[in-house]
Symmetry: C2
Subunit: 211 residues, 2 copies
Amino acid sequence: MTTESTVLAELDFPAYAIGDDVADLLFREARSVGAFTDEPVTDDEIAAVYDLVRWGPTAMNITPLRLLVVRTPQARARLAALAAEGNRDRVLAAPLTIVVAADPAFHRHLPVLAPHRAAMVDALEGQPETREQMARMNTHLQLGYLIVGLRAAGLDVGPMGGMDAAAIDAEFFAENGWKSVLLLTIGHRDGVGTPHPRAARLDYADVAQTV
Amino acid sequence: MTTESTVLAELDFPAYAIGDDVADLLFREARSVGAFTDEPVTDDEIAAVYDLVRWGPTAMNITPLRLLVVRTPQARARLAALAAEGNRDRVLAAPLTIVVAADPAFHRHLPVLAPHRAAMVDALEGQPETREQMARMNTHLQLGYLIVGLRAAGLDVGPMGGMDAAAIDAEFFAENGWKSVLLLTIGHRDGVGTPHPRAARLDYADVAQTV
């Protein structure tokens, strides 16, 4: 394992199709952030990020990612009460928190999203567990695009899994049936930096086999 | 829903932190590709992509994404036989196919990846179902980073879910216990283009609520 990108120089690889500044922004210098400045994050910024990342591929183009944008002090307090204790202050302090959610009713959009699979609507209607699993997996896939997209818009993110997901679903998603996946605090990192040193990653040789 | 990025002009959003060329490369003009040129894809190219995308965040930094790089004609034939019928020719024809897999034994790396969570190793050892679900979810998250990273290296991808996953696991992962998630054909798109017109996506108003 390594803690820095020391591998690249040893490879026969001329260059990425993006500049080093972009590679740093999106991946190499990006960090999960716990403390943000007071600079606000607007709904239009989030909409612009979504406009970019919605083009990322998903299985059958089901695109089940849904976003609850938590902005008002009242909504923020409702959400913070259902976050893990260590995450409550972050939800209250961040310029914006999004509840990333998966929509198990994604199949109702298939006539638009995948017209050649429209016959799947009826088949999937009777398979709620399959739909929820498909929704959760593909929401995680889209969450990967979303985190990259937020960074591409110059924003920093703090993903937090610690929450009472069932309680959040009951509090916010009783009508639409969305399933909460993750809390994502969003803003601009403050100059103080992040609480932990950068965690290590596995090397390519640890994760890949060639046959 | 819209089929093109017509939304951005209506937003109060000055600019992404990446150029339009990068936004097009990674998201807006990228397409899932079914037919590739003969230009080869090297192991070093894949290693360079991994070197970039491994920095993307995962829950507890578990980074369970694993890659089986299928290169030899023999291995390619073994894999194609276990792909869905409609995907076999693509596996045989693509410059390279990767079996994207999830490692339920990710917890054994926690002393390196998340030293402050090293106590979780023993707790997770006895929870194989929890580990497999965590591995699958976070592999999908990393798959989002991986697809973006392959495009950032100037490569095109054709993700394919149609396969006999259990048979692939038995054929290739009997020893390491990896769980196959997806087939990813990789190369450079040929000039002929893609088989389908671009599929529609939901608009921000369809997927987001603000409270």
